[in-house]
Symmetry: C2
Subunit: 304 residues, 2 copies
């Protein structure tokens, strides 16, 4: 497909796995899954967040920085070889060592010929019990992008980004056809019974809302398995520009989810639900503020 | 409850009705429902969009402008009397005649003593087959507000606004506890079988997403009944700051939906899902643009 057009189908593959301690074992398994997905017709493969090891942020542990690599580096090169060997576009999430004391949670977009199309550094960094990412990751400085590839223009966010409508909108305004979110989200074991259903529903609702509000496809790849106090909830999914879920992976199984996305739907949906036409860009300046004081006279009272 | 604090419960009432041609009949019925809701403990009552008559925008018909009134005007005064008599905050949607040739789709917020707290003029104006609003309504010029009332700080959008995450966010940044959306949305009769389920699901998903993304309550009041080619789908709803639907009205019945909202949940949810903490306001400038060209170097390729 010519990049930048929306005339044909793209087959998306989401690789949802359970991670073990051995980086080599995770990488080997993932490369095999990339090969299998390509054999089944995948155009673009998206891995889960930090797919090459256990989620490193459950505690603030300086030893975890040893997992990070520069980009380009050994892992990104291995992935590029796999992309080229199997002829797929690849979206992979890596723990990036950019400089001493400067680390990012970064996604790379690799073309079918193995070249690096671009990188995205996670912009929104969470910090909550069990997810101490602010200790590890410097907030990204590359903004929100849509990368032109032979599988369409691909927006890439990482996990926590998916809760921010601003990120999805900015990728849409850059021309994205599909938003990909490599993810590592799960239930804290002692919260699952009380809040688990609501938490998972909220996650799915936000992903679907980005598809609807922006008239594009949304795909999220999450991991599965218990790691420490987190039970990662899997349920990787792809939804269409109306927010309908085209496919959803199970909560607890390793699986590669293949979904066909007909990019020609984007213009059809957007001309029937023309939100991009009607945005009030003259009135959105406040979005760059942390909080807004009341404008003078807003609470002005008068006789109705 | 002192305005501006979030320490107690607010009982919300949504008045979902079927409209007839007689403005007087619609108004009388609605005032009776306001009285009934107040008797059941309502603190704030939200009416559906343009509640005092059939939805006027199914065709481009100059005679419909005769329905519009100034604000203050006869209808807003009648509503203010009802609010004062029954001691409830009232959110009502009106066809506003501001000046000759200048009309708006406007919502008023009226206090329990009958004074007008403020007005909101619909910012996002739709225009689709059966919903020819751009013919009638000048886009609003008052921005997005959260009105301080004795029932909390209330954000008010109108119908089409609910598809725009920017609007919800801006009301949240102004301190809103609850977002209200007077609404007139339905199925085009000849589309319902094929698209109806997906359309309604998309609507509900967007409303829930605003609650989740902003950690506040969201309420939408929709009308019911067949008018011309539109079957209004009712299903007025209130959801909590986690996006859980607290109550949903039926698709085809007149009903007043009463829901208790514990505003103290807002701070709890926002400190557990701290999205407002992590917004990247340094990187959101593009949201005031219609579309974004690729930044220089974004598609820069290099060896991974």
């Amino acid at each position: 497909m010519p990049s930048g057009t929306a005339a044909s189908c793209v087959t998306v593959a989401l690789v949802q796995t359970r991670c073990v301690d051995s980086q080599q074992a995770n990488l080997d398994k993932t490369v095999q899954r990339i090969a299998d997905a390509a054999a089944q017709g995948a155009d673009v493969v998206c891995l889960e967040e930090l797919f090459d090891g256990p989620y490193p942020c459950q505690s603030e542990d300086h030893r975890q920085f040893d997992r990070a690599e520069p980009i380009p580096g050994p892992t990104s090169r291995r992935l590029a070889e796999a992309a080229a060997e199997h002829g797929v576009v690849l979206i992979a999430s890596l723990f990036e060592r950019r400089a001493p004391g400067l680390y990012h949670n970064t996604a790379v977009v690799i073309e079918r010929d193995g070249h690096l199309v671009g990188t995205y550094r996670k912009m929104h960094i969470p910090d909550d019990p069990g997810y101490y990412e602010k200790f590890y990751f410097t907030p990204g400085d590359l903004g929100f992008s849509a990368f032109a590839t032979t599988a369409g223009r691909l927006g890439v966010g990482v996990c926590w980004d998916q809760w921010f409508p601003e990120a999805a909108r900015l990728m849409a305004l850059r021309g994205a056809h599909i938003l990909f979110y490599p993810t590592a989200i799960g239930w804290l074991v002692d919260e699952k019974a009380e809040f688990g259903t609501s938490q998972h529903a909220a996650w799915e609702t936000m992903l679907r809302s980005h598809a609807i509000a922006n008239g594009l496809f949304v795909a999220a790849t999450n991991r599965v398995g218990r790691e420490g106090q987190i039970e990662f909830w899997g349920a990787s999914l792809v939804c269409d520009p109306n927010g309908n879920i085209l496919a959803r992976a199970p909560h607890d199984e390793e699986v590669t989810l293949l979904v066909q996305c007909d990019l020609s739907q984007i213009d059809v949906v957007r001309t029937h639900w023309p939100f991009l036409r009607d945005r009030r860009i003259d009135a959105y300046g406040g979005l760059t503020q942390r909080f807004l004081d009341q404008p003078p006279g807003e609470s002005h009272s008068r006789d109705p």
